[in-house]
């Protein structure tokens, strides 16, 4: 008796993991959306324009380049939409609309399709696009919008917290002991949300534990600060990352190594700039600012251009963390995460070569096999 339906006969295995290229990409896309919407909410409709321009042009270029490469329309797999959204999220909210279009063109056309499309790129496409426009239109790329809830003083009208720190450190000699106190001394404002939430947090939760949170962190955590559209909301980025980790779409090795190494160096050396001592760096401030969370979870941990073995991923994450620290504290750019990740992308093939998987039955150091 033959079964009268088109039954599939395939090689083993006969079933597969829940993750497919398509649902990985769309999961990442939907996990990015809350942080993107937050950017639109606090920076206004110009941010929405930037996001839409980036998304639409990424989709269009994907379609065109796939045609050029003689492939079917690959938009269903969602990877172009992830790239487009990420490109938009890394840009300041008020850039002219040709900037996201060129960023998407570089990301999709040069970084992705020149090397053969999905999975073939050796650096993160959105970061590549960001880097291209960052050096092409430096002025537009460093003009920031002040967010909703934050009164805008003229003195600091166009800088992110990290940007202010960088110029301050270059120009001044004597600084207040911590980044937030320094910002306050410049007249960097504090939102009414922070003014309400910080005392409440301290009184109801932290004081019984013997901790006191200075004001300003709530703004940084929620994302009430000037910055790129998608990078500001630490809270929403962390929340969606929990989902990706739970679904095992994101492997925790790279973020863990990244935060570990970056946090360690910031903690040890971060206080020195302010004339402080070793082991006084403000780790929390540096994790919440400068697009670090967006960079770590959605760019460093991006599966395509990062190493494949666990050891390789730990090396990659550590390297990116260390480079971010170097660039942020001793380099010209205030943020550092994007450049550090791109630099590590370059090393990915080398790391892969140096950390091959260990074969079953291979002799283990210190535990030789004895043959009787």
């Amino acid at each position: 008796m033959r079964v009268e339906v088109p039954i599939s006969v395939t090689s083993s295995p006969q079933m597969y993991d829940e993750s497919s290229t398509r649902n990985i990409m769309w999961s990442v896309f939907f996990c990015l959306l809350p942080a993107a919407f937050w950017g639109v909410f606090i920076f206004g409709l110009s941010a929405l324009g930037v996001l839409l321009a980036a998304l639409a042009s990424a989709a269009l270029f994907e379609f065109l380049f796939a045609r050029l490469a003689g492939q079917d329309c690959p938009l269903w797999d969602g990877s172009a939409c992830v790239t487009g959204l990420l490109v938009g999220m890394t840009l300041p909210p008020s850039v002219p609309l040709y900037v996201p279009v060129f960023a998407s063109l570089f990301a999709i056309g040069v970084v992705k399709w020149t090397f053969g499309g999905l999975g073939r790129n050796w650096m993160h496409p959105a970061l590549g696009g960001w880097l291209f426009v960052y050096f092409s239109w430096p002025r537009a790329m460093t003009t920031w919008t002040f967010p909703r809830f934050l009164p805008s003083p003229d003195a600091v009208s166009s800088a992110t917290p990290l940007g202010l720190l960088k110029t301050g450190i270059v120009e001044e000699t004597v600084l207040p002991p911590s980044p937030l106190e320094y910002l306050a001394s410049l007249g960097y404002p504090e939102s009414s949300v922070d003014a309400v939430l910080s005392p409440w947090l301290n009184a109801s939760i932290l004081e019984p534990l013997g901790i006191s949170l200075p004001s300003g962190y709530v703004d940084l955590f929620l994302g009430i600060m000037p910055g790129s559209i998608g990078e500001v909301s630490a809270f929403l980025l962390l929340a969606s990352t929990v989902f990706l980790l739970a679904r095992k779409i994101l492997s925790p090795a790279i973020p863990a190594a990244y935060f570990g190494v970056f946090g360690f160096f910031v903690w040890v050396f971060g206080g020195l700039q302010y004339g402080g001592e070793y082991f006084t760096g403000d780790v929390l401030f540096h994790i919440f600012t400068g697009g670090l969370l967006l960079g770590v979870f959605y760019m460093a941990a991006d599966i395509v251009a990062s190493p494949v073995t666990l050891r390789g991923q730990l090396i990659f994450g550590s390297g990116a963390g260390f480079l971010t620290f170097l660039i942020r504290f001793y380099g010209a750019s205030p943020e550092g995460a994007g450049l550090a990740i791109l630099a590590m992308n370059v090393f990915t093939p080398l790391i892969n070569r140096l950390t091959p998987p260990v074969r079953f039955g291979a002799p283990v150091r210190g535990r030789g096999r004895t043959h009787e």
């Binding site: 033959r2 395939t10 006969q14 079953f360």
Partner: protein, 447 residues
């Protein structure tokens, strides 16, 4: 706290899918009106047919005699008349001569009290001869058990491991056997131990199969037998011989060696039960327990099935299809074979028959490799599956060989984990076949 052992590298936890069939006790399936008995059910060469059409056969009668030193006996699973002789295609694509037997006549075993033989008096070579005579093969591997247990001189066995892992999703007939036939299986362990004389006898059971663990523990407590029960942290493919030995003893076999080289012999639960029946009841291997599962079948069941029962009979017995299956799988979903022909019979190595819907399979469109490395991180052997895939695709077989393609045991972790749905196992298998036929050409054997 006692840390559960498992193997260290790779592996994964596929969707287990056992909840619906695990609680269902084993029961006897109906006898098939037409049995299709292949004469090649083991690794080796096909048995020599001893019957002719229209000849009547009795239950358990020898119908195929082992040929050469890699053969295995085949017995008639049912009483009846040989309808015809023919050739069928086995699920893995090999063709085999087969005997078609129409049910009829008198039953010799069913309904009669079985005679129990005192195996303690048998010598080692008598036991081995009995296993060969009764056509016993590994119910997973298909390796004739007598050949596995007949140690070449100089080999010593440190550990005899009874494999109760049953790590493939869906399948639970071994776990049911452990629960329901505990005493018989433990007696089987002692018989095997008499043959290989190990220092330790270990029964390995996954730590989450509480009922089976409790049954074995209870039996061991009462009988004070010299058997250790070892719960292991479940992970696929822990039922693989090498990985199991690694988990239990900590020793890894070197490429090209067998587990016997590190002093281990592994038998799975179903094989030990068959061994008990072959020795104590002197019953040939004519039935085995299998799991019928999948969302497309009416009732998921654990059945004791006669060898040679066509799948169509089992489908009917389990309530037919509730919906059309997307795939029909012989064996487990990770290493089993999908087939399109319901006349395919249950053989000695069939551990289950699965009727899977497309929702259970989660197939998806093939895309480019994403370089995500899931295949590499999931490989228990420490290979680079996608690297091997590319080598085979470009016919760079020698390079694939030096990167260990022959160590792949096709467990399926890589292709299961691959989000791009690249047929890694298929390509690696093709590469191995190409290497094997090249080696055969070198020896001047032709293909």
């Amino acid at each position: 706290m006692n840390i559960l052992r498992t193997f260290p590298r790779g592996g994964l936890r596929p969707r287990e899918m056992k909840s619906r069939s695990l609680g269902r006790p084993l029961r006897n399936a109906f006898l098939p009106s037409l049995s299709i008995v292949p004469l090649l059910q083991h690794r080796g060469s096909a048995a020599e047919c001893l019957v002719r059409p229209r000849e009547s056969v009795r239950e358990g009668m020898l119908i195929g005699r082992a040929v050469g030193n890699d053969g295995s006996n085949v017995h008639s699973p049912v009483p009846g008349v040989v309808k015809s002789l023919g050739t069928i295609t086995l699920p893995w694509g090999e063709s085999s001569p087969a005997v078609f037997i129409e049910l009829g006549g008198e039953f010799d075993c069913i309904g009669k009290p079985a005679q129990v033989y005192a195996w303690e008096e048998f010598r080692k070579d008598k036991l081995l001869a009995l296993l060969a005579e009764k056509g016993l093969v590994g119910l997973g591997s298909g390796i004739p058990t007598e050949r596995k247990l007949a140690l070449s001189p100089g080999k010593r066995v440190k550990t005899l491991i009874i494999n109760g892992m049953e790590c493939e999703p869906y399948l639970c007939s071994d776990t049911r056997l452990l629960i329901e036939k505990t005493a018989e299986i433990m007696e089987g362990v002692h018989i095997a131990a008499k043959i290989v004389e190990p220092l330790r006898r270990i029964v390995a059971v996954p730590s989450d199969k509480k009922e089976a663990l409790a049954a074995v523990k209870e039996h061991l407590r009462e009988s004070c037998a010299n058997i250790e029960l070892m719960p292991l942290l479940p992970k696929y493919p822990l039922g693989d011989e090498r990985q199991l030995v690694r988990a239990v003893t900590g020793e890894e076999t070197v490429s090209g060696e067998s587990v016997l080289d590190v002093g281990a012999v592994v038998l799975n639960v179903g094989t030990v039960f068959a061994l008990y029946e072959a020795v104590v009841l002197q019953k040939p291997l004519i039935e085995r327990s299998i799991t019928i599962a999948g969302k497309a079948i009416g009732r998921q069941e654990n059945l004791k099935v006669r060898i040679g029962t066509p799948l169509a009979d089992l489908v009917e017995e389990c309530g037919g299809f509730t919906q059309m299956p997307e795939k029909i799988v012989m064996g487990g979903p990770m290493m089993g074979w999908s087939i399109a022909d319901l006349s395919c019979p249950v053989t000695k190595t069939t551990s289950g028959a699965l009727f899977l819907t497309s929702r259970e399979i989660r197939s998806s469109r093939r895309t480019n490799c994403l370089n995500c490395g899931r295949c590499i991180r999931s490989c228990p052997v420490g290979l680079n599956p996608v690297g091997l895939y590319k080598k085979v695709e470009h016919a760079a077989y020698a390079e694939a060989c030096s990167e260990g393609i022959l160590d792949c045991n096709e467990c399926g972790c890589c292709a299961y984990a691959c989000p791009a749905r690249i047929p890694l196992v298929k390509e690696i298998r093709d590469g191995k076949l190409a290497l094997a036929s090249a080696a055969a050409l070198d020896r001047g054997e032709g293909v």
